[in-house]
C-alpha cells in the first residue's frame, strides 16, 4: 500500500473553514475548527465517531447551519448566500452519503437522471442517456441500469451514489464514510474509485472516514478532528509517525498495523 503524494504548495484554496462552531443542545461538537481544502487534493478527515466529521461536510454543503464561523466554498460564503445561489453552488459540489441515500422508489437510471433532468433542463433525452451510461461506466456498474436500489449490494449502492453525484460533474466531492460497513476487497475498490474520480474528473475532495487504509490510499493530506478542532494536519506518514497520545490509539486499533 502506497501513500499518495502530498498536496503541492501554493495551490489555490477551494474550501476555507475558519473558527467553525456548532452545538446540539448543550453538546458542542465543533469548537472553532479551521481547515482549508486545496484545488485538486484529496483531504481525509479522520476522527472518532460522534466528533462532528459528518456535521462538518453537512455545513459545507449548506444542509446544516453553523452557530458561528466562516465557511467559504469556491469563493461563496455559504451562510451569506440566498437559497437560489446555494442551489447553484451545490451544482458544483458532489455529496456521497454514508448510506448512499439512493431513491428507493426509482430505478438506478432514474436515480442518476434525477439531478440532471432537474438542473440541465435543456438536455435532450439522448444526451441524458449518454451521461447516465458514462457515469455508470465510470463506476463499473453499467449492468445495473434498470435495477432497483434494493437489489444492489452495499458496495454497489456506494458506487451508484458516487455516480449520481458525478453526473453533474462537480468540482468538489464530499465523501461521508465511503468505506464504512464494506468488506476489505470492496473497500479497496471504493478507494480506487475515489482516486479515479480525482484524476478523471479533476475534483478536490474531502473524505470523512475512520478507516486508516482508506486514509492512506486516497489522501494527499490528512486532518485529525480531535475535541472539535483540527489540531493536526499533514501527510499520513507525518501525522502517524509522531508519538502522540491522542492519535496512537487510533492507529493501534486499526487493522493497518
Amino acid at each position: 500500500m502506497e501513500q499518495k503524494s502530498a498536496t503541492p504548495q501554493n495551490t489555490p484554496t477551494v474550501i476555507e473553514i475558519n473558527d467553525l462552531r456548532i452545538a446540539f443542545g448543550d453538546f458542542e461538537v465543533l469548537k472553532g475548527a479551521s481547515l482549508n481544502l486545496y484545488k485538486g487534493e484529496n483531504l481525509v478527515v479522520l476522527g472518532k465517531s460522534g466528533t462532528g466529521k459528518s456535521v462538518l461536510i453537512k455545513i459545507i454543503s449548506g444542509l446544516l447551519k453553523a452557530d458561528s464561523g466562516l465557511v467559504k466554498v469556491l469563493g461563496n460564503t455559504v451562510d451569506d448566500i440566498s437559497y437560489k445561489e446555494l442551489l447553484k453552488l451545490r451544482l458544483r459540489i458532489g455529496f456521497s452519503f454514508q448510506n448512499s441515500a439512493l431513491y428507493d422508489s426509482m430505478t438506478i437510471r432514474e436515480n442518476l437522471e434525477f439531478p440532471l433532468v432537474r438542473n440541465r433542463r435543456e438536455l435532450k433525452k439522448q444526451q441524458i442517456n449518454v451521461a447516465v451510461e458514462e457515469v455508470l461506466d465510470a463506476v463499473g456498474l453499467s449492468q445495473t441500469i434498470n435495477q432497483m436500489p434494493a437489489e444492489l449490494s452495499g458496495g454497489q449502492r456506494k458506487r451508484i451514489g458516487i455516480a449520481r453525484t458525478l453526473i453533474l460533474k462537480p468540482e468538489i466531492m464530499l465523501y461521508d464514510e465511503p468505506t464504512a460497513g464494506l468488506d476489505p476487497i470492496t473497500c479497496f475498490e471504493i478507494n480506487n474509485l475515489i482516486n479515479q474520480v480525482q484524476q478523471q474528473y479533476k475534483t478536490s475532495s474531502i473524505i470523512i472516514t475512520h478507516d486508516l487504509t482508506c486514509a492512506k490510499e486516497v489522501g494527499n493530506r490528512v486532518a485529525m478532528l480531535l475535541d472539535g478542532k483540527f489540531d493536526r494536519q499533514g501527510t499520513f506518514d507525518a501525522i502517524f509517525s509522531q508519538p502522540d497520545a491522542q492519535i496512537k490509539p487510533f492507529y493501534d486499533y486499526n487493522f493497518i498495523q
Binding site: F24, L63, K65, D67, S82, R90, I93, D104, F114, T165
Partner: protein, 269 residues
C-alpha cells in the same frame, strides 16, 4: 428565501413546565411556515408535472377499491337503517332523497376524507419520513434540487385534486348501494330512484361538497407531508410520522367538517 434543514435538536425548548406549550407554539409556527412555503413555491416553475400525474395515480386510483367497497356498504347500511324511521310516518318514498342528500352533503366527503387520511396520509407520512431518515431528502437538497417542490408540492396538489373526484365517486357508489337495497325491498326502478335521489340536491350542495373535499384533501396531505418531512429519530420517527399523519389528519377533518357545515348553513334558507 434562505433555506436550511432545521436544526431541531438545537432549537428544542428546555424541558420545563412551560416546555410543552412552547413546543406546541413552535410546532404551530413551523406548520404555518410549511404551509406558506407550499403557496410560495407550489405554483412557481419549474413544475414537476410527471411526478404530479404519478401521485394523482397513486393517490386516486389506488384508493379506489377501498372507497368503492366502503361507499357501497355505507349506501346499503344507511338506507336499511333509515327505512324503519321513515316507515313510521309512511314516508318511505322519501328514502332516495334522504340517502342522496346525506351522501352528497356529508357521508361521501367525510368517508372519502377519513379513508384517505388512513391510506394516503399515513403513506405520505411514512414515505417522506423514511426518506428523511435515510437521507434521501438531503440527497435531493445537495444535488441542487428543491425536495419540497418535488415531494411536498406534488403530493399536496395531487391529493387536493383527486379528493373531490373521489368524493363524487363515493357518493355515486353509495347511491348504487342504496339502489340495491331499495330495489330488493321495494322493487323501485333505478330511474325513479335516481330522479328522486337527485331531485333535492342543489347547486349549493355540490359546491359545498367540492369545497369540503378540496379542504380535506389539502389538510390530509399537508399534515402527512409535514409529519414525514420533519420526521426525526430513526425508524421510531417514521412510525410516529405515519401515526401522527392519520390521527391529526382525521382530527382536523372533523373540525373542518363542523366549521364548513356551519358556514354553508348560512346560505341555506
Amino acid at each position: 428565501m434562505r433555506h436550511k434543514t432545521p436544526n431541531l435538536q438545537a432549537t428544542s425548548p428546555p424541558n420545563k413546565p412551560l416546555g410543552w406549550f412552547l413546543r406546541m407554539f413552535i410546532t404551530l409556527y413551523d406548520v404555518y411556515r410549511f404551509t406558506i412555503r407550499f403557496f410560495k413555491e407550489g405554483f412557481l416553475p419549474p413544475y414537476e408535472g410527471k411526478e404530479l400525474i404519478k401521485q394523482c395515480y397513486n393517490i386516486g386510483l389506488k384508493t379506489l377499491p377501498l372507497i368503492s367497497v366502503t361507499g357501497f356498504i355505507t349506501g346499503i347500511v344507511f338506507t336499511k337503517q333509515s327505512r324503519p324511521s321513515l316507515a313510521e310516518f309512511g314516508a318511505q318514498s322519501w328514502l332516495p332523497s334522504l340517502v342522496g342528500i346525506a351522501l352528497l352533503r356529508t357521508l361521501a366527503p367525510l368517508l372519502t376524507a377519513l379513508i384517505s387520511a388512513g391510506k394516503v396520509g399515513s403513506s405520505i407520512g411514512a414515505e417522506l419520513g423514511s426518506m428523511r431518515v435515510t437521507e434521501q431528502i438531503d440527497a435531493m437538497e445537495v444535488s441542487a434540487t428543491n425536495p419540497f417542490k418535488f415531494l411536498v408540492t406534488t403530493r399536496v396538489l395531487a391529493t387536493t385534486i383527486t379528493l373531490p373526484i373521489l368524493t363524487f365517486y363515493t357518493a355515486f357508489i353509495g347511491l348504487l348501494g342504496a339502489l340495491l337495497n331499495v330495489t330488493v325491498s321495494e322493487n323501485t326502478s333505478y330511474k325513479i330512484f335516481f330522479e328522486s335521489a337527485l331531485e333535492q340536491i342543489t347547486f349549493l350542495d355540490i359546491t359545498a361538497s367540492t369545497i369540503k373535499a378540496v379542504l380535506f384533501g389539502f389538510t390530509i396531505s399537508m399534515v402527512g407531508c409535514y409529519q414525514g418531512y420533519n420526521s426525526l429519530k430513526g425508524t421510531e420517527g417514521v412510525g410516529k410520522a405515519a401515526n401522527s399523519a392519520v390521527v391529526i389528519g382525521m382530527f382536523l377533518v372533523f373540525i373542518e367538517e363542523v366549521i364548513t357545515v356551519q358556514f354553508f348553513a348560512l346560505f341555506r334558507t
